[in-house]
């Protein structure tokens, strides 16, 4: 019989991995994918708790998170492409036009 604990721990580890990826990778695409990983770990948490309480509202939230992150992926990739054309690199340190 499965319990809630292993799912929570896995989700925390995935979140921490995504956090490290966001803060240490330099390629804009990989930073973006790491952020997606963090979103997905939260999704896993939603579903695990939904299963725990026998309630499908968690699944509904996951559904909306997926819709929003698909939209975010489309816009994010478009921004990366535009930035790539502009700066000839995807290194996010090159995105310093508006740096204070």
């Amino acid at each position: 019989m499965m319990a809630l604990g292993p799912y929570l721990i896995l989700s925390l580890f995935l979140f921490a991995a995504g956090l490290i990826g966001v803060l240490t990778r330099r390629s804009a695409i990989l930073v973006f994918l790491s952020a997606e990983l963090m979103l997905n770990s939260a999704n896993l948490l939603f579903l695990a708790f939904g299963r725990h309480y026998g309630d499908l509202q968690g699944a509904a939230f996951v559904f909306f998170v997926m819709a929003v992150s698909a939209a975010e992926a489309a816009v994010g990739m478009a921004i990366v492409v535009a930035f790539m054309k502009h700066a000839k690199t995807t290194n996010i340190d090159a995105a310093n036009l508006m740096k204070w």
Binding site: M2, L30, L33, N40, G54, L56, A59, F63
Partner: protein, 163 residues
Amino acid sequence: MMLWIFFAVAFIAFLGALGLVFHSNPMVAGLCMAVAMVAQGALYILLHVPFLGFFQMIVYAGAVMVMAVFIIMAHKSAEQGQEVSLTQTLATYLGAALFLIQAVRAVWSAAPPSFAQVDRAFGSIQQFGNVLVEHYAVPFELASLVLLAAMIGAVVMARRIWE
């Protein structure tokens, strides 16, 4: 039995995440992300919500990954230039370690019980549709607007506006 399947799939998901974060070749890192996404979809199926698992595989391992891999391949050396400073790297690892220690301790001390039994219909697409229409009809429509706006925004952003 379920526990062993869970551990196998969780291990694959975690390996994929590690590959995304630590592999030096962006292409391999992107494909590791696809592995992690497929494994997460399998976990959703283990959690009695199979159609969301398939959504996960189609949307992430399919659509998002294809776009990401396309951009990585269209650009020669995606990861160049200076590295992250040592201070930032150390601070990141320290922060992640503290977060993990604290959160795992919280889970450990709460000691959540085993899952309750659910009937076979739990997580079926009918039940999910009922929840969606009863409680989230307006957000569902708003999601379609968000997707439309994102589609138009992506086209506008990716046009040649920088020249």
